[in-house]
Structure formats: C-alpha cells, structure tokens
Symmetry: C2
Subunit: 668 residues, 2 copies
C-alpha cells in the first residue's frame, strides 16, 4: 500500500477513535475503550466490505451491522456520521448520552436509523444477528431465482468478551453453526479485558475452539490494532466460506492509543479525563481539536454515499427485472417489505360455538397458526424443543434447515433465551417476516431479557406460551406458572393475552399478527376448556368484554381470564338461580383494555359496581386495579404442586362451588 | 466378572428401569426414557463410587448427586428407595406425581430428603452442581489440615442434551473449567434425542470439544447401555484428574429395553402404555410384577446403608480428632453446619444519622458487606463482572481461584444466570455458607429462572442488585429498571427490599443474612441519597414504618421506597408548611410488611386515611394494594431514557415540586 493511502487509513481510524473519545469526554460518561480498540476492524469492514446506503438506512438489501458490545456505541455513531447517514450529525455526537439525543448510551434502533437492533445487555446482539442471518437465508431461498438474485446480504457483528460469556450467545451460536448460516460473520474483539479487569479472572476458555465445536469457520487476526491487511484477508476468507458462519477472533488492545489507560479495565467504561485525552492525542499524533474530522477523512468515508446509492440503484434494477419476470413473487415480496398484510388474512381464523369440540386453548392456538399459515406466508417460527407440546408446527411447511431455508418451521432446540433474541433479529430485519416462538409459559423467565427487548425495540415478535397455570398438573411447581402473567403484564409495551376459548384464541392471533411494532405474548392452557357462549373473536382487541349479563345493575361482576372464564360462567348460573344479579366479564388482556376509552371501560366495569371477584389460576399481584378494595380474587399465592391437573385446580380452589362461595362471601 | 455377579448387576439395573417404567405407567404421566437409558451409569455411580449414608441424607461429607435432567427423576427416586433412604418408600414410588407425594414430577429438595437441589428447568442442575463443587473446594481449603481431612467429597451430576443446549449450563461450565474444580464429575447422557426428536434437528455441535474448550477433562464411554466396565474406568479416571472438572460423555439409548419405543422422542416424556410395558418386560427378560424388586437386588443395594453408616462413623471420628486438635476451626465449622450465626454478628452493621455523608445506597451496601465480612466468615459471593459498580468486593479476602479456594470473592464473569444458579448450589450445599451475588437490577431478567428456584427450593441466596432505577442515567433504557421491582415482588417466597439510606441498608442486610431458608433481593441506587432523619435499621424487618408523622390523623400519607423516600420527606415539609397534615411512610419491603399482623399494618397505613401518594421511580404495577382507588402513584410507565441521572429523574417527575403538586391534586 502506498504511504499516502496508509496515512489516510490511519487518519480515518483515528477519526473514529477521537470522535468516541471526545464524545465520551464531553458527556463525562460512556465507554471509550472498545471504540478505540475496535476502530481498525470496524473501519475495514465499513469502508471496504459493507454494502449499505447511508441515505437509505432501510434499503432492503443492505448488509446488516450489529454492535453486540453495545456499550461501545460511539464506534457505531462515529461510523454512521462519517459515512454520511443523516441520522447522526456532528451535533448529535456532541449530544452523546444527553436527554433527547439521537446518540443514546446504548444503540437503539427505534431512535437512530442505521442502528438495526437495540443492544447493551450483553449477548443479545450476536443472538439477534443469528436471526438477521436466518431471515436473509430464508428470504433468499424463497425469492431468489436462478436468473435473478434479489436477496443477497451479509450480517456482520462485533462482539466482545462479555457477549461471549453470556449463555444466550452460546445458544444462538450453537444453532447458527447447526444451520450453517454462511453469511453471518462475527468479529470477536479479543482484548482480554472486561469490567472487572483481565479475563484471567473468570474467562479463560478457548473461545475459538468453542466456536469450532459449534461448527463455525474460525480465524484469528493476531494484531487487530494495525494489521489491516490481515483483517481484510480474514473477511475475504470468511465470505468465501458459504456453508458455515464465520468467527474472526481479532486480538486488540482496549483503549488503544491511550498511553496510560490502554489495556486496563478503567478505559472500558469511563471518560479518559482531560489529561489522558491530551496524552492520547499526543501519542497518536492527532493534531485535530475536539470533534474535528480531517476533510480527507470525511470525503473518503463519504464515498459510502456514492457507493451505496449505486448499490441500491443496481438492486432496484434487479427488482424491476424481477417484477417483470416474476410478478407474483414480486408482489408478495413488496407487500412484505411495505409491512402490509395480505387482504383478508384474518378470514381464515376459526370461529367456534359451544357446540364445537372442547379443546385446550393450546390446540386452538395450533388451529389458528395453521389457519394463518397459508394466508400469511411471512409467518415463520417454532418452539424451544416443545413443538408437540406447544403445538406450533406449521403443517404446510417443512423444517428450516441447512439447504432448506425456504421452510418456515424453526427448530430452536432447548434454547429459550436464544430463541427470543433470534426472533427479535428476524422481526427487526424489517422485511415483513412475522416471527413467533414458543415454550412453556413458566420458561418466559429464561427469555425475559429478550422479551423486554422486543418491547423496547418495537419488535413485533409473537410469543406462544402454553401450559399456562397450575392446571398443567404433574410436572409440578418448577413448571407451573404462578406469578408469570403478572411479571409479564408489568413490562411496558408488551401485550399479554390469555384467551378463554377458541374464539378468543382467534381474536388473540388477530391482534398479535396486526401488532407489528410491538410484541404480543399469548398464554394457552394445557388442559381442555369449553367453547363459551357469547365469546367473541373481535372483542379480544378491547381487552375485556361482557360475556354474559344480567338485567339492570349487577350485584357482582365475575372477571375471568383464560381457562377460568368457564368457571365464572357456571358460577354465575348458580348465583343467578339464587337471585343474584351477575355479570361475567372475560378479560383476556389488561393492556388492550387499558387502551380503550374511558366510556368503554366504564361500560364493562362500571365504577358503581364495587363487588368484583376476579378468577384466575395465577397470583393476585396487580388485580387490585380491577377488583378494588371491595373486591376479591381467587388466586394462587404459593408455588404449585405435582399432581394431576384436575386435582391441583380443585385443591387450589378453582371449582364452581368455590367461585360461588367466594362471590357470596363478597356480597356479605 | 463372574456370571453370577453380572446377572446381579443386570438385575439391579433393570430394577431401576422397571420402577421407573411402572411408576410412570401408574401415574400415566412422566418420563421413562432417561431412567431406562441412564440406569447403567447411575447404578455404577451409586453402587460403586458414591459415598453417602441413606439413613442420614444430611451427613455433611456425603458426595452430592444432582440429576440435572430433572424430568428423569424416577431414576433418582428408584435409587433413593433401593439404597435405603427412608424418604422414598415403595408406596411413595407408587404415588409418583400424585397430590402430596414425596415423589413429585421433578425432584424437589424441600420435599424429598436425598434430593439436593430442585431441578426440572433444564440447565439449572449442572449449574447448581458447579456451586456445590465450589462450596466443597472452599470449605476444604478453609478447614482441612495436613493431618486432618474433614472436607472431601465429590459432586456428581447427570445431564442430557437439553441441559447442554441451555445457555445457563455453558456459563457455569465455562466458569467451572476456569476454576479447575477437580471434584466435579458430569455425566452427559448422550442419547441423541430431545422432545422434538433427534438432536439432528437443532443440536449438532461437538459437545465434547466444547467442554475441552472450557478446560474440562473429557472422556467418552461409547456403549453406556452395557459397558459397565467402561463406565467404571471412566469414573476412576475422572476422579484421578484433580485439577479439572470431568465430563464423561456416555452414549446411551433413550428408553433402552423398550422394543418399539427405544430411541424415539415418544419415550422421553410419556408412559409406555400397557402393551409396551409388557413388551419391554419380555424384551429384557423381566419376570417380576409391577413395583416388584428381587430380594437379591434390594439386599445388594441396601449395602449402601452399611457402607454409608461406616463412612459417616469414620468421618465422625475424624471430626472428633479435629475438634481436639483444632478447637476454634471446629467450633466455626460446627456452628456453620448447624446453621447458626455467630453471636452479635449484626452488631458491626453501620448505624448512621443525617450528619453522615450522603451516599448512594450501593455504597452503603458495600459498607454493610464489609462490616459483615469479618463477623461472618461464611459470607461468600461476588458480581457478574460488575464488582466495582455493584461494590461487592470483600476487602478482607482475595479472589476465589484455582489453588486459592479459601478466598471469598467470587468472580462470576458476565454470566448472570449461571451466577444465580451457582449460588443456589452454594446455599443448598447446606453447610452454612451464605452466598450473595450481584449485577444491575435490570439484569435480574437474565437470571430470573434461578431467582425463582431460590424461592422455590428454599435457598437463602442474597441478591445484591444495584443501579435500581431510571436514576442511573446515561446507560439508558436497556439498563434502567422500570418494571423489575414489580416483577420480583410477584415471586412467592422472595423478599424484595429497597433501602432508602444507610440505616435501611443495614436493616436490609440484617434481614437478608438471617433469612437462610429463602432468598432476599435488595435494590440499591447508583446515585447519592441523604441519610434520613428517623430512618431505622430495625424497622426494615417490618417492611414499612412511619418515618415522620404529623399531629393526629394525617390528611395524606406519602409512601416512598428507596431513593424516593427523601423526596417524600422534603415534600412533606412543604405541605406541612401549607397546613397539610402529612405522614411519611418508608416502605422498603412489601413482603416484610405483609408478614406483620393486622394491628401493625393498620398503625402504619390506617384504613381511614385513603389519600395516599406512593413515590417510587418504577412502574406503578401492584401499588393499588397500598394506595387504593383514592390514591395515586408517581411512577414510571414507559421505558427510560439516556441522559444524566438527575435530568432523567427530573423529566420523569421525581422532584419535590411534583410530589407536592400531586399530593395537592389528590387532596383536591
């Protein structure tokens, strides 16, 4: 390489470093170490390999970049700015970590175009990346034609020691290896430092060997600080391996360039401080002032705009050709990209009556999924090794496997957390794919961090959670949810729905599929429940509705959810027979109810009627909102027990007699 | 081996198999596959290697056995019965999975003596086992003398494909390898089947290689169905390796012996059915009836009683010698085993006044931990790579590392879930060790499954969770808890405490340390808070108390927790100045408050005073319980934001002015 070019490359790399250093310094908060150490690999990747259009962060066929080590986000913000994204200006960088800025403390996809997924909690980004790569492989298999390559992009991710220690990353990477995701390329920022200090303290495994064990293609760039050539060759080699994901271990120095703080834990997560900022400038020969970027650097890196515009134009020609040759596929593809659902997609959802066979709601879920599958080709998902318990198999498709990426049944293995994170990636690929994932409701605990991120990052993931109460029986307290519903209802932006029967299940799916910018979690029973008179598909969207009513003002309102609504109905009949005026409300979803106007809410739960008995085979935590201090809840306030489901439900008070009895006690 | 002995071994192994088959059949529920396949390895382990006293499941120096693949619990129940534990009789086995039985659907330590930890949720048991082995190593290093080996036992665990897929197991096993836990021996029941079917569907990594990468000693027994000799040699070899944990991959056939269902997913988790039970009996030449165990088998396996009694007697002699030679150490050892805390242990906890320096409660936590450390030699713990943020280092000790197991600072690495499960193991080693673990409160989500198991299995783990609200500032919404407190309060048997200042922090630790049979989780602020007038160490145990009062009946009660109590105090002063009678209640813990008698609760929150304003920088979910329908909550109902902490708190309404304003609005 000519000396002049080398100098330009160094200038670019140091520009990235110093934007990070200066931004963190100004904010007196943030993580300079990773940007300083990973700048070389990131520069090579963004400048020489990645295909993206800075002026169109949503261009479909862009390569995806994920910074799994999200604390190092100044690295990404610097690159977004330097390459010409409108979403990050120099002013935005100066507002790093300030109220209302576009450059928050960890990357947020909903805040900053160019950021694909929200990271920060370690291990999530790499797992999201597996999902992004799965989405690409799937769409490529479905839409590409021998003479027309519409879908063709890579997923690049930078992760560090922290991500590598987290279990969720191991889950996702094991699956990625199994699936042979050849267009996933991960850079391991191997700097031997984590917050506590040297990785010698707790992390001495052979990471490269572990990734070989997962079936990845593994390389090592020994000098990630300055061997740009080595980095380049490694990326080329990684791209050349098409049947395995690639892992490039890049050994770097955290805080590279800082004479006194490089290679220490201190440079990981704190501003360098005035003196050290000066010293680093001297050390690296950086004569530019705070936030000052050399012209040459800017014009060089802004070539990304020209390149990207050209890539996109090329692709749009391909799309035009595709439209002509394959009009049907093109129409579907573009419909999906636009985020539109097919006309009448919900029409296939079953509507049932009490005459229809009583079934566990997990079976109704199965029916709904399979009714939707042909109508919604974008529906893709699976279970964490509980396919035949969760009943989530799409019968009209095969398993998504290496070489069969067009299939829609995802086999996640016993990897709940990885599954959730992967689905976030599939959703945030933003190509109209609708991911669903499933496990036992109680194991939402394993994947809670991913569920939270679905809610935060506006990912329309559908969570199908079965075996939703102590009613599941013999598997016992480790498997029986008690407090799970409450814990999930507490998450902002997550819609939790617990359908009572077939109609409500259909209604739940109707909501979930339409809910593309936020996650929906549905809870289904293991045990059989009847189809209820008056149950409604469409009322589910209102969160709660009057299932059966009395004349005039009710003496008492029974509020049930899911498998307990039937008990309320039967209890109401008995109470009515004793002259008590009873209204039965089915309340499949708190969040949907809260979203209704005051008039509707009042019409369902009139303030004047203070005698309210909620019946739900779960903890009462939070129910005071709907039953008030004059009300009561038949609830589970302890862990469950191992016995046949019917026995457990009976012992725990979920009988018609007990509902009647508690209602009468309430009425005094 | 003589033919007669071989036959006896076969009889023993098949006895285990058929107890499992028959119990599952009778219950029409359960998992026969693993017991049938893993019976040979389990038999060799229990009969030839494990040192335990069936008549004293709590004998300190017993080897620990964990069935991480907890669904296969009939394997363990069969062994407990056959070897002579009183906790599992033949009747108990016949009551498998029935209400009130000692043989629940997954092993429960609090239900069945002989069961060390509660398993079922996959990956937990192996992670617990790492904790059990850490406890042994620690106690051995602390108490053993050159001439007196008091602590010397192994931890054996059987895990399957499911456990191996789970991220939590990878976290714990990576740490175990780093720590060189030589007395941890894991058997991988390698049967290539999980619930969905063949492991070819989703799990094709090279597991053995991954464990080599972790630094374990790895072996493979190719025929785990009948090569008892091979199993024996592998265990011997594993025991001979003293500086690495050992991983023995034992290839077996799930459901071994069942002619039509062996090696299928169907035999994993369902009763064989009458016909297949018969066919299996024929296939294995088992002429005994349901639940019938040959005399020879029983008397052979019951030799465990004689052996165990003798092991224990031997050990008690050692203990007697130890008492004589090392009376101080012996006294501490026996005090710990008895579960007694040292006299006056809590005296060292700081008591502060408003004159003392205002500090973040995480700093008070640090002070409390370090005050306790010399007083409580059993206190041992650490952080998931956030030691200097959580402030959890014990200054009077070094790091627990290979060759330095006597130290008390545990370096977990970025492995929150593994950390929680490991601490459950340390607690359930039942030797008086008091484990604590730490991370940012929001990352409780990563380890929720382990926290739940602490609560279920009665493990007195102390969770130290810092950075407990949006007040943490710049790290932003991925790091800022909103709904976390609510989600944790919902867990039965978990005590959640959010101290307001230094006194309350001391009070929280007082509760947590004394709480040995259930977990305690404490939430601490990142930001500085004042020491409050009237705050109380001892009142924390009551969950809520009157911090400051007015004359006569209050017009309004301000209820604060943690960092918001100070706001309530200041607001009260302003309101009082305007002639409003205000009581300020500090409510560090809901669970502790609920445990008080009605009289006390009424005295703090009199029913007649309905104007109540709660102030907590968290979601309002559940607060209706204490503020009622006439009350209000200053809460956070959305995800947080990245900005300096003071800015965020202000923007979100956590100012004295806003508290005053909302209080006035409530009063109308």
């Amino acid at each position: 390489m000519a000396v002049a070019t080398k100098t330009l490359e160094e200038l670019c790399i140091n520009s990235i470093r110093f934007l990070a250093i200066d931004a963190v310094e100004k904010a007196k908060s943030g993580h300079p170490g990773l940007p300083m150490g990973a700048a070389p690999m990131a520069y090579v990747l963004w400048d020489k390999f990645m295909r993206f259009n800075p002026k169109n962060p949503q261009w479909f066929n862009r390569d995806r970049f994920v910074l799994s080590a999200g604390h190092g986000c100044m690295l990404q913000y610097a690159l977004l700015y330097l390459t010409g994204y409108d979403s990050v200006t120099l002013d935005d960088i100066k507002q790093f970590r300030q109220w209302g800025s576009k450059t928050p403390g960890h990357p947020e996809n909903f805040e900053t175009p160019g950021v694909e997924v929200t990271t920060g909690p370690l291990g999530q980004g790499i797992a999201n990346s597996v999902g992004l790569a799965m989405a690409e492989a799937h769409l490529a298999a479905r839409f590409n034609k021998p003479d027309c390559t519409l879908v063709d992009h890579y997923t690049y991710v930078i992760l560090g020691d922290g991500c590598n220690m987290e279990g969720v990353s191991g889950e996702a990477c094991s699956l990625a290896g199994h699936l042979g995701l050849g267009k996933l390329i991960a850079f391991y920022d191997d700097n031997h430092i984590s917050i506590d200090g040297s990785t010698d303290l707790a992390f001495t495994e052979d990471v490269a060997k572990r990734f070989e064990a997962y079936g990845w293609h593994v390389q090592h760039v020994e000098n990630g600080n300055s061997d740009l050539d080595g980095i380049t060759k490694a990326i080329e080699a990684a791209k050349a391996v098409t049947d395995k994901p690639s892992f490039i271990k890049v050994t770097t120095t955290i805080g590279y360039g800082s004479p006194n703080k490089a290679n220490t834990a201190g440079v990981h997560g704190a501003a360098l401080g005035d003196d050290e900022v000066k010293a680093t400038r001297e050390n690296l020969g950086w004569t530019y002032g705070a936030f000052e970027v050399p012209e040459d650097v800017l014009s060089h890196m802004r070539q990304a705009v020209e390149r990207g515009t050209s890539y996109q134009a090329e692709w749009e020609e391909t799309l035009a050709t595709y439209r002509t040759k394959y009009p049907q596929e093109a129409a579907q593809f573009e419909r999906m990209l636009a985020g539109n659902l097919p006309q009448g997609w919900a029409d296939s959802l079953p509507t049932l009556t009490p005459a229809d066979k009583a079934m566990a709601t997990r079976k109704h879920s199965q029916a709904s999924l399979n009714a939707l599958a042909p109508a919604l080709p974008e529906l893709i998902g699976g279970s964490a090794d509980l396919t035949h318990s969760n009943l989530t198999e799409l019968k009209n498709s095969g398993d998504f496997q290496k070489g069969r990426y067009e299939n829609r049944n995802l086999r996640f293995g016993v990897r709940e957390h990885g599954m959730g994170s992967i689905c976030n990636g599939i959703a945030l690929h933003n190509s109209g794919l609708i991911p669903y994932c499933a496990t036992f409701l109680v194991f939402a605990d394993y994947m809670r961090a991913a569920i939270r991120l679905s809610a935060l990052s506006q990912a329309g993931v559908i969570y199908v959670m079965t075996h939703d109460s102590v009613g599941l029986g013999e598997d016992g307290p480790t498997h029986q949810p008690v407090e799970t519903l409450a814990s999930l209802r507490a998450i902002p932006n997550l819609t939790v729905i617990r359908p009572a029967d077939g109609n409500e299940t259909s209604g739940a799916y109707k909501v979930a599929v339409a809910n593309r910018k936020a996650p929906t979690l549905m809870a289904f029973s293991r045990q059989t429940v009847p189809n209820l008179e008056g149950s409604s598909v469409d009322a589910v969207a209102k969160g709660a509705y009057v299932l059966s009513d009395c004349d005039g003002t009710p003496d008492i309102i029974l509020i049930g959810t899911g498998s307990e609504v039937g008990l309320c109905v039967d209890a109401a009949a008995q109470l009515q027979a004793n002259g008590i005026q009873v209204r039965v409300v089915s309340m499949p979803s708190w969040e949907l109810f809260e979203a209704q106007d005051a008039g509707y809410k009042e019409s369902v739960l009139p303030t004047a009627v203070t005698k309210r008995l909620a019946v739900e085979a779960a903890a009462s935590f939070g129910w005071c909102r709907y039953v008030g201090s004059d009300g009561d809840v038949i609830s589970v306030e302890r862990f469950g027990a191992s016995a046949p489901g019917g026995t457990v439900m009976e012992k725990f008070g979920y009988t018609v007699d007990n509902v009647v009895s508690r209602a009468q006690a309430l009425l005094g």
